[in-house]
């Protein structure tokens, strides 16, 4: 990064919006994945779309890479800066542009926090459905880029189901409007591919979201189980009964204890707890609630707690959402893995993880979106112990291979980023990746927009790609031919 280029940026957007001081730049050297660090060449903090365009145009003219950053809570290194590039920090673009209750829409700038969207519309009886555990600290722009999920995505879908439109700056500085406020827009579904593209296609400067009305009735219950097998079977039984709850979350003994130590939600001390939330029309919720209680009983559930009021409901969810952070109470460091399995394979995969825990000697906590089969094993380690950090990474990778073995995915919500780019060939073949690259080059022919993320490159991964697996539909063996 040349000082002349930084001067140029200051010229174009004002020195107040440019961070060039080396020690200040340290603030941005990693996102939530702290094992990957890199100081950006320079950081900019635009307040307007015109400033974003000016920066991107300057980069395009000079061939300088750029990386967008939201709140930096990402867990896959998606916002890891490029050492010779510009980090575009979007936090100052945090205005709520328009609340449109009659149309059940809200338009926000990307720096607005996820929970802020719900706060804005709560007085009107509305909310924004995707609720990542990090919702207090993560931005809508980051959510869009990662296609973030949350506990309530089982019934309501992920970010991609709630974003209707976006304004974005293309890698050559052109401004485009993708989708809109209406539910359908003619043309190719560019929005569908922009969501979840991890900041590699464009810089998003405005987002149009769908709002949901608060359901009439919500019931939350929690039950304890003496084994994760029983809890996993209970999850399968719920799905088999044709019930799609708003959420089904599971925590194991390690994460229950951590949550207790941190926020005292009053969870039973058990091998596993399930949290199930039902919402909708009162009569429906009441009927399904009875079915769930029966399913829990059949699978030897005990210690059932039913939230009597919002306060108790809040406490249960606080216990669940604090689980990652609470691991800090029981372990000096931990690695958060994110993998997906077909939900019917939960008991078996959890047993393999248990075995891995014994073999490796590292504690592995499990807290996850059980209804979706989205696992979050937390691999605990101590940096002070020589070699443990590397061991933890190997253990975490091993768990991913269990996910792929049963036809699952490398990531359910945290993204590929810098962290898992080299794992991509384990899930996708060369032709699959080359097809994704067609999208990439259509948006960004010069490869300046968040390079070195998502795709495996020889520079990142060496020349030896992982073993390619057959399409999960064939390989999983769980396919029942009909």
């Amino acid at each position: 990064m040349t000082p002349e280029f930084i001067d140029e940026l200051e010229q174009r957007i004002g020195s107040e919006a440019v961070v060039r001081d080396q020690s200040e730049l340290l603030t941005y050297e990693s996102d939530g994945l702290v094992s990957h660090r890199s100081r950006p060449g320079v950081a900019v903090l635009p307040r307007t779309v015109e400033q974003v365009r000016a920066v991107v145009r300057a980069c395009h003219e000079a061939g300088v890479p750029f990386v967008a950053r939201g709140q930096g809570t990402g867990l896959s290194g998606g916002a890891l800066p490029h050492p010779d590039g510009v980090l575009i920090v979007m936090t100052r673009m945090n205005r709520v542009v328009e609340i449109d209750i009659p149309n059940e829409r809200i338009t926000v700038e990307p720096g607005v926090m996820n929970l802020e969207v719900t706060r804005q519309v709560t007085p009107h009886g509305y909310y924004y459905a995707p609720d990542p555990s990090s919702q207090v600290i993560c931005s809508i722009g980051g959510n869009l880029a990662e296609n973030s999920g949350g506990a309530h995505c089982l019934k309501y879908g992920f970010t991609v189901h709630h974003v209707l439109g976006a304004e974005a700056v293309m890698p050559d500085g052109t401004l485009v409007h993708v989708g809109g406020l209406a539910v359908d827009s003619p043309g190719l579904d560019l929005l569908g591919v922009l969501v979840g593209s991890e900041g590699t296609l464009a810089v998003v400067t405005k987002v149009m979201l769908r709002l949901l009305r608060r359901p009439e009735s919500v019931r939350t219950l929690l039950a304890a189980f003496d084994s994760t097998d029983n809890a996993g079977n209970a999850v399968s039984d719920v799905i088999a009964a044709g019930i799609i709850p708003a959420a089904i979350e599971m925590m194991d003994r390690t994460t229950i204890r951590a949550a207790e130590a941190a926020v005292q939600p009053g969870f039973p001390d058990a091998e596993a707890v399930l949290i199930v939330e039902l919402d909708g029309h009162e009569a429906e919720v009441a009927a399904q609630f009875e079915q769930i209680e029966a399913i829990f009983a059949k699978n030897q559930g005990w210690g059932v707690q039913v939230a009597r009021d919002d306060a108790q409901r809040g406490r249960i969810w606080m216990g669940r959402k604090a689980a990652f952070a609470a691991m800090g109470r029981v372990s000096p460091s931990y690695y958060v893995q994110d993998g997906v399995i077909p939900r019917s394979r939960l008991p078996e995969v959890l047993r393999r993880i248990r075995q891995l825990e014994q073999d490796s000697g590292l504690t592995i906590g499990n807290v996850f979106h059980a209804g979706d089969g989205n696992l979050h094993p937390l691999v605990c380690y101590d940096d002070a112990v020589e070699g443990q950090a590397e061991l933890a990474e190997r253990v975490a990778s091993e768990i991913l291979s269990y996910c792929l073995d049963v036809g699952g995915s490398l990531t359910g919500e945290h993204g590929i980023g810098a962290d898992k780019a080299c794992h991509m060939p384990k899930m996708f073949g060369d032709d699959d990746l080359a097809t994704m690259q067609l999208v990439r080059v259509a948006f960004d022919p010069e490869g300046l927009c968040n390079p070195d993320k998502l795709f495996p490159t020889p520079r990142l991964c060496g020349e030896v790609p992982g073993p390619y697996r057959a399409h999960p539909a064939e390989a999983a063996g769980l396919a029942e031919r009909v």
Binding site: E146, G407, M436
Partner: protein, 410 residues
């Protein structure tokens, strides 16, 4: 003469939109699709993909077809993972057949576009077409979780997977959904499914005008009712509701809907259980199965009443008539329009002028060649057109696949 890909010379019976294809290929496997496309590419032939052929008349006028690729032999449900509520089907199977198979485990692919006995999974995906229960379950783009596609150059690729939650890599499956066969041929697709409901109830409510009808729909939802379908239809003007859940629940909600209708000055009727299917078939046929131009219009929900009253005036003053059915809350409207062709074209352009970009659209789906010559079937797609064109160019550099007939005219 058939070769390995089921390729033969086109005959009059193969005509699409009045155009007889030079060749017809009906491959029985993914590899066959790949070879067909590779061969067509080498020969410099344009390929038109056909599923059930129910919508091939949609889109701009067809000039000529070198190769018509039919997916009819790709007609298997590859896997039904009922414990996971997912299924993988080949693209040439019809929706009706798919759901017949999935019902063995009381599940379904929750899509109900018209003509389900003929429309294929591939065609429904390629058009992102949905029916009344889109209100609850979403459109094909909301349900797709994985896809195998063959690119124009004959290369086969996969996107997504078989799990319901998955953010690994770009969502190419979603990009192909709604691409009208312009980016690749869909060979198979994996979906998240829904449980079949134990019971359903249908309520038909006649209301005096559009404003009251929309007010009723809004009130209903704000009271926490959870219909699976919430349709607005003409003529006469009515709101049609389908409740699907446990029997006690659908009955309770249906009754509430009927009672609420009175307070809005409407007349609600709960249909007999046995009369429901017939009613919904007729509801669908009134728009789709009869002659006339088919339009799909999308507006903002708050503008629905004013759009409908404008439509009444604008058609009446031009001597046009229309029948409409659509999803009220989503404000997705399907219209069948009849009357003088120039007037139809004028109506479409005036409607488009009223809708600023991103706040609604009017697409001509089925139309006579005469109307297609008078109007742009897609309307403007806005400032992303260049990006779309670039995506098309990268996926299909020689413009082999459905050239000129992709969305936005790609």
């Amino acid at each position: 003469m058939h070769d390995a890909e089921g390729r033969r010379t086109g005959a009059a019976a193969d005509a699409v939109d009045g155009v007889v294809p030079r060749w017809v290929a009906e491959p029985a496997s993914q590899e066959g699709v790949a070879r067909t496309l590779a061969q067509a590419g080498a020969d410099g032939h344009a390929v038109l993909v056909q599923g059930g052929g129910t919508k091939l008349g949609w889109g701009p006028r067809l000039e000529s077809v070198d190769v018509l690729l039919k997916t009819g032999r790709l007609n298997e449900v590859v896997a039904h993972r009922h414990g996971d509520l997912t299924a993988t089907t080949q693209s040439g199977i019809t929706l009706a057949e798919t759901n017949e198979r999935l019902s063995a485990h009381r599940q379904w692919l929750a899509l109900d576009p018209p003509d389900r006995a003929r429309a294929t999974v591939g065609g429904i995906l390629a058009t992102n077409d949905a029916g009344p229960r889109r209100h609850r379950h979403g459109a094909p783009r909301d349900l797709i979780i994985g896809m195998t596609l063959v690119r124009a150059d004959g290369v086969t690729a996969q996107s997504g997977g078989i799990v319901v939650k998955n953010v690994a890599g770009y969502d190419v499956a979603r990009l192909l959904t709604g691409s009208f066969g312009s980016l690749g041929v869909i060979v198979d697709a994996t979906f998240k499914l829904a449980p079949l409901a134990e019971a359903s109830s249908t309520v038909v409510v006649e209301l005096p005008d559009a404003k009251v009808a929309v007010g009723y729909a809004v009130d209903l939802l704000s009271r926490g009712l959870t219909p699976a379908a919430l349709e607005i239809a003409t003529d006469p003007l009515r709101v049609v509701l389908k409740f699907e859940s446990l029997e006690s629940v659908t009955e309770a909600q249906a009754e509430e809907a009927v009672t609420l209708a009175e307070t809005h000055g409407g007349l609600g009727q709960l249909l007999e259980v046995d009369a429901q299917n017939e009613f919904w078939t007729a509801h669908e046929r009134r728009v789709f199965a009869e002659d006339g131009t088919l339009l799909k219009a999308v507006v903002l929900p708050a503008n629905l009443p004013s759009s409908l009253s404008w439509l009444d005036e604008a058609t009446a003053s031009r001597g046009l008539s229309y029948v409409l059915a659509g999803q009220a809350a989503l404000s997705v409207l399907h219209l069948r329009l009849t009357g003088p062709v120039e007037k139809q074209a004028a109506l479409v352009s005036e409607w488009r002028e009223r809708l600023t970009l991103g706040r609604g659209s009017v697409v001509v789906r089925r139309a006579t060649a005469e109307l297609k010559a008078l109007t742009d079937v897609w309307g403007s797609v806005g400032d992303t057109f260049e990006v779309m064109r670039e995506v098309k160019r990268r996926f299909d550099p020689r413009a082999t696949l459905n050239p000129g007939r992709g969305p936005g005219g790609l």
